[in-house]
Symmetry: C2
Subunit: 256 residues, 2 copies
Amino acid sequence: MVCVYDSGVGGVSTLMALRRLVPTVDVCYLGDTARVPYGPRDAATVCRYATEALDYLAALRPEAILVACGTVSTVALPHLRGRYPLPVYGVAEAGIRAAAALGARRLAVLGTEATVRSGIFARRLSECLPSAEVRSVACPLFVALAEAGLTAPDDPLPRLVAERTLAPLFDLEPEAILLACTHFPWLSPHVRRLFPTAHLIDCGAAAAAALAPTLGERGRGECRFLVTDGSEAFRRLYGRLTGDAAPPLVETVALS
Amino acid sequence: MVCVYDSGVGGVSTLMALRRLVPTVDVCYLGDTARVPYGPRDAATVCRYATEALDYLAALRPEAILVACGTVSTVALPHLRGRYPLPVYGVAEAGIRAAAALGARRLAVLGTEATVRSGIFARRLSECLPSAEVRSVACPLFVALAEAGLTAPDDPLPRLVAERTLAPLFDLEPEAILLACTHFPWLSPHVRRLFPTAHLIDCGAAAAAALAPTLGERGRGECRFLVTDGSEAFRRLYGRLTGDAAPPLVETVALS
């Protein structure tokens, strides 16, 4: 069994990528919906929330934990990995490796405020690709749109938000765009419309691809969902985002 | 000294209303920025967060507490008021009284998801104004826009969000619109543009008006700001929303 952890519903995009690769894997998904969004918060607060969540999940004795939250994997995971006697995968490292493999010369990083403020993506990308131009943009409203289920490709609202938020990238003409927050793949049609030739890197899918080959055990493809608040709202939103006709049972748990 | 409590920066609109009425009052403002927004969360979670915040503030021994959060004053305050040996004012009751005094026949309530889901505004308004038509609309993106400082009257983004969110009210032609969340006064120009003849009721300002005449002591008009996360971000946002050239010192405190 693998645990997938995100602040909210964003990591469901990563969960879906993992299940496409390994349909038989059993997964326990945790969304810390009582405290979403993590992105605008200070690093110390994100570390505290992440520690509580990972302690909870580690106690379930999974084969591995996939941190499907760009903010946690950027600002907290480097400090927390040694705390757990099991592999903990983050979306940041996987996304950076995927970008480096592409060898793009002009790169954009779309993240939360905390991710962009940390500068970690930009720094690591510049180490891997010293001659590349890297520009980071914080997209806090993308999270609000995804959590509200307002992501449809023909909806003018996410279209306008994408145009406004990504305007600082127009003159860069990025060859690759890292979606460094797992909420953002839900908005990828709107990003793609503005940058039709850029390669979009879904950091969550990249992390799922890194984890998949390491999985020894196989299960029955079962999926358990835990949230810290709003189990009914999570069910509805899960159905709306994934198009799944039978949204799953969702349990509420306490982390703090 | 009076305490003003909100989930984030929204209650600053209430604080400003109170200081316009009583410039000499000393205020301690608490924004639970580590857990904002409260609006999408379950009532039990909101009650837990509110209890922690009010316990903290009551220990400061203020003359009164003004709960400048529509969600808390709707779903938590009725259960919590007896817990404290001092007056606790909520924005919900004040807004409902102001609407009742107007005698409007068609009323709209703009609130968070939790406020609208509770049905409390609609029920209380129908009790006060039995022949009035009342319609409630949840405006979760208004909170995200205010917390991102994206509220300017000439900005097309909040304009489009307002048009989309308030479309269910167009055929009602409301005579009065209750801004039942203290984040919403920041967006009132966008509400007014869509409903130019409606009377906008700022529930926070109504609560400040109820509290002001009861204040016995007078201070020096000092204001202390406490947040649970992101003191620098709060300072910047405070300056951006209020136009105050000298944003205040902001302290970080722990509630949980």
